[in-house]
Amino acid sequence: MSLKVLAVDDSRTMRDMIRMALMPAGFDVHLAEDGVHGIEVLDGLEPDAIITDINMPRMDGFGFIDAVRDQAEHRATPILVLTTESAPELKMRAREAGATGWIVKPFDPAKLVKALQMVAG
Amino acid sequence: MSEQGQNKDLELLTFRVADQEYSLDIMSVREIRGWTRTTPMPHAPDYMRGVINLRGTVLPVMDLARRLNLPSQETNERNVIIVVKLSGTLTGLLVDAVSDIVAITEDDLQPPPDISSDPQMSVVRSLTVIDDQMIRVLDLAAVVPVSSDEAA
């Protein structure tokens, strides 16, 4: 069964990259353009994992993770944060917000796939 | 159609221009159209007959007889326009009539006599004989002016 993934990033290029990395590996990829859009797409989607960018308009990644974790059914959904900063404090902030793990951009598609499989099976 | 040898690596479209037989590599021929009235282009060289509507695009048409300095014939219903494609551009060649399609091998071709002063020959790539008739194979690139080397 293919894993359902919601990816939230305001950069079209990044969304394309994520899509290109995951679709051939058999993931069912759903995309959103920012946090607010992500919450909308999340409604009724029940993804196996979520990938989100941090810097986004309208609602950033931290806010998005917060909002996801506030929904009972997504309390345990793995969330990976995409970040260009490998700065430890960003990872910590993401973790405090409830992120499961992180991927440092630019990501290697295989690594992204592997990370997803590690957190979501 | 004439059958000559087995190594048929060239097909020629033969046609008449001012009572002479000419031919073109069929690979460069896109289609053959009946004669329609051309819209003359002002101040164009006299061998440019003008332009016609080829399914919505503007096709320049060249009078091949005038281009080869042969006596131009009165246009009539039997005249046809051979649409050729050269480096991406379509051009129409007005000829008297289309004769045949013949398959030959490269071996059947002979170089034209070296008469460089003869304008007819400068555009003839080679000669071949089919059914005892000499046929001139045109060098399309030399026939169709490519704007820049027009002056030459």
Partner: protein
Amino acid sequence: MSDQNDPMAEIRASFFIECEELMEALQDGLQELDDGSEEPETINVVFRAVHSIKGGAGAFGLEALVRFAHRYETVLDEVRNGSLQPDSEAMKLFFLAADHLSDLVRACRDETELDEATSDELLTRLDALLGEDGGSEEVEPEEFEVQGLSLALDLPDLDVDDTEANDSTLYTVRFKPEQELFATGNEPLMLLRNLCDLGEATVRCNFDDLPSLTDLAPETPYVEWIIELKTEAAEPEIRDIFEFVDGLCELEITGPQGEAAAPAPDAPAEEPPAPPEPAAEAADPAPAPEPPANVVPMGNKEPPAPETAKEPEAEKKPATPAAKSVVRVDLERIERLVNLVGELVINQAMLSQSLDEAGLSPHSDAMNGLEEFQRLTRDIQDSVMMIRAQPVKSLFQRMSRIVRESSAAVEKEVRLVTEGEATEVDKTVIERLADPLTHMIRNAVDHGLEATEKREELGKSRAGTVTLTAAHRSGRVIIEVADDGAGINRKRVQEIAANKGLISPDAQLSDSEIDNLLFLPGFSTAKQVSNLSGRGVGMDVVKTSIQSLGGRITINSEPGKGTTFSISLPLTLAVLDGMVVNVAEETLVLPLNVVVETLSLGPDDVQMLRPGNYVVRWRGGFVPLYDLGVMLGYRSHRKTDPGSIVLLIVLEDGSRAALVIDGIQDQRQVVIKGLDDSFYRAPGIAAATILGDGQIALILDPADVISGMGHIRGTDLMLSERKIANE
């Protein structure tokens, strides 16, 4: 362009398109900041634009772009978090950096050479903004490593397959999750499974800490797992599995020789009391009975009242505008559609002509249907043209850069004001406007505006203003470039024109005629060749390029107040409102907008100026007269008999001409068919169209036809009028 079979090439192409949008957002944001915006979102947008460019650039291994964007972003981040307050110098630098970033993006896209020297110079200046503490420390190139990435579509099977055990070692892993681990959506089960994937594992669950049910706190995990793992993998690989939970669990990995990474407090790994479970199956069924603590408490550490938390969310939803749904389409496909619609219009014209000839009653069903068909065709045509329409904003942004660069070059303070950025114009028009507009803007900055000191002397504001406006007016696009400078020095212009032999020294010219001298080929007012506009490219080139777009350009200048250049363009290049006329045996189309009036020649209207040159009397003046049939070589004898039909046309420079034709057929929209550049190009012929009967009609460019004939210019004509009057 991009290889359709290569998804990376496609994404790469799409990345550069996105970059254009990001650059636009960056420009906008910087402008808002410069205008004093205090909105936190403004700097966020600016930061994000640079950040996203960096992100994408990293993915494609564009190191130079990443390097520049990264350090630019670092400085912007300082502004974002409030530790740097940019002054006007800093803002200038930000604009320059944005311009340079945009150059780098284009250079990367076109794979041309990158201007690293400018990068270095700007980066040094940007770093300087960070002050002594920030400057050098941010320059670690390692911090953001570029990782060129090749997207293999057949993804490797994720190193699972190399389990041909050669040098397996036995590790003992003790793992005890802490409460926070569950709050982050991490799942011990997954971790164990990943661990098992590394080799042969035996998993044992230690319930020793599990309190009696009454003492059990639901949020506290009490369980630890001890895994014996026989694997080829090295210890770091094992640690990698626990990367995300580092700090959220107790983790001990004991190596083959029993040397623990951290000494195990107790060593339970030695005794295997629990029945060993087959590692492979351990993955799916629970490796051990899950403690109840595990099931309930996930993320539930501080139960937030979910209702209150959700409500604002629900309210937010309708308020946020739905993301505008946009489809990106290859321009080629649109071109195809435009062509097809062109065909449709022609086809409709043919149909209506044959129905006309059939003599049907105008009230017949066929004629009514035809009317509806015509209406639909027009609507489709408009809609298709709309697809190609784009706001002029991107063009205007490019111009703001031109203003910045040119004002710096001539050391003038210049403010650019733009209006009507949302005005939509055919994409092709926008592209082809860039060069002429650039030249006009440079001209305005260089020649139009006074030097800063001069302005102060005159009591004008120090900074000159260049206003760039776009608007739709009566079916055309009007673009204006206005400056508030000194206005055209008409005396000087006339002198120059006379010195260059463009007009006779004693010519009496109206103000507008003098202004129009600027458009004469070879005219340039620059006394010395300045850095900017004086490179031999004159306004005549501008005028020619505007004309090639079917447009007109006019000047309006007021001494001391400034000069305005107005460009008027057709909305689209694909259709033309034309007047269909007969000349000799041919049918020709003239752009309707040049035709001022139609006249019928009276017996005394035509006068010979000199052999071969005729003028026609019109409203008390004289207008040069040409026979189109003769000019186009359709006939050799001039037709100036009384009763001949004459079209009075106005040319872009405001001068008039009269064209003799044989008859007027119609006024109608025609679809413009370009003439291939590769074949003979007749002067004066702008394009062609296909008429209702399938015949091709040529579309004339009257100015070009006339100039090919040695047009008598307005200035000449003034002289000639006097000459005639004297005779």
